[in-house]
Symmetry: C2
DNA sequence: AAATAATTTTAGTTGAGTCTAAATTTTATT
DNA sequence: AATAAAATTTAGACTCAACTAAAATTATTT
């Protein structure tokens, strides 16, 4: 009695869009996220509610039940474990793996995923720095802030980036920004919101939009 | 422009059922293999012919075009490479992997499959002894015969087994029959067609049906 | 509080892939 | 060669997941 790919993708979208404290997601938000029509979303929400994966009230939006939340979390777990495999074992780059993991996450086998986890050494984070839920659905949250929020002279280490847009990730690679890269904030250009940073001794600048999608763990600044 | 899972599965079925010299597969054979109705097969054959993956004549059956054959062969390649990964890297057993590989073979990424091949060391055979096509679609055929065809006192090594039925494979494992196992034929029980063999010094018997699905490479018999 | 805008749902279609039942074509048998 | 049997195709219907257009509900603004 497995779920269809479409059902799984809807649950994943609802989890991704659920934010505390409300945890209720609107029809339009899901439609935008999945690039589909609001009418299609309404149809699917009715089905998912019928199967008790979500709680849904007409015109009010949807929220995951414990059951639905568990399924969505396991999809995230599978997605991120496969990404680790693709990068660590096969040598793919962080910009190549999201699309492939979108397919791999739907493979149905609990023994497979537990053995993959073991094979990879029970990684806690994926190649973009996102936490990997364990078999019980628990994961590590780390204190982090967008690079764009750093004040001049603050410094830190890149611990995560917004995944999934390959050209954004390739841009970072070109600039020398990777997980673990140490960055010092120099300042913001008042005209164009460009961010000035240094990596090692090297100075460079990033657009504000890019800097919002790089996440930093602060280190003691002098 | 990818194929649907259903289309891919039909092409794979046609390849599996194509036997020289005719290479033409009947509607009913496909229906039986895919456990579906003949009417559904007819519908799909029309679509595949329209897309030029097969040549199809009403009432006469279907055969793969070069294009269709290439796609089906690449599915076999992916299926068998994933099986090697599941057994060699993750430590699964040969009875567990077919069903999972049926899903994994549909993952769409050429770089992925070439890197997987390299990671595994370009294996030539899968965990059931079936040959793995290379990136050009070429594979190694080996001389082999069913265990049931051995004459008394002939001996050889198990180099392949019919894959895909988990309970058959578990049965073999229990009896101590694996790829590489050396077997001597002792004889056939005239009553019930049971096959008598020895493995090392140990004697055991197998049903005729089982013995037909174990493939042997003969070694010099005294 | 009424009017307008935005959001969401309903109604009616579509295409993929399947089904059963009936009709057609091919093959085998007398 | 005529008839019976087997194989195959056609016809019509179903489910899933999507769509557009129109209707209904909720939110916002005047």
């Amino acid at each position: 009695m497995g779920l269809t790919y479409a059902e799984e993708n809807y649950l994943k979208a609802i989890l991704r869009l659920s934010t505390p404290p409300a945890m209720v997601v609107s029809t339009n938000a899901i439609a935008a996220h999945l690039d589909t029509s609001a009418a299609s979303v309404t149809d699917m929400l009715k089905k998912l509610a019928e199967k008790e994966f979500i709680i849904y009230q007409r015109y009010k939006g949807a929220s995951l039940t414990d059951h639905g939340s568990r399924i969505a979390t396991m999809l995230i777990r599978k997605h991120r474990l496969w990404e680790v495999f693709l990068v660590k074992s096969l040598g793919m780059t962080w910009d190549e793996v999201h699309e492939i993991a979108e397919e791999l996450e739907h493979i149905q086998s609990d023994p497979l995923i537990e053995k993959l986890d073991s094979f990879l050494g029970f990684p806690k984070f994926d190649p973009h720095g996102d936490p990997i839920p364990n078999a019980q659905g628990k994961y590590t949250l780390r204190a982090q802030m967008p690079l764009s929020d750093l004040k001049p002279d603050q410094e830190g280490v890149v611990i995560a980036v917004r995944e999934s847009d390959p050209s954004f990730l390739r841009h970072l690679t070109e600039k020398g920004v990777n997980l673990g890269t140490h960055i010092t904030m120099n300042g913001t250009d008042s005209y164009d919101q460009t961010i000035l940073i240094s990596i090692d001794q090297r100075q460079l600048n990033l657009s504000g939009k890019v800097a919002q999608n790089i996440f930093i763990k602060l280190t003691s600044n002098i």
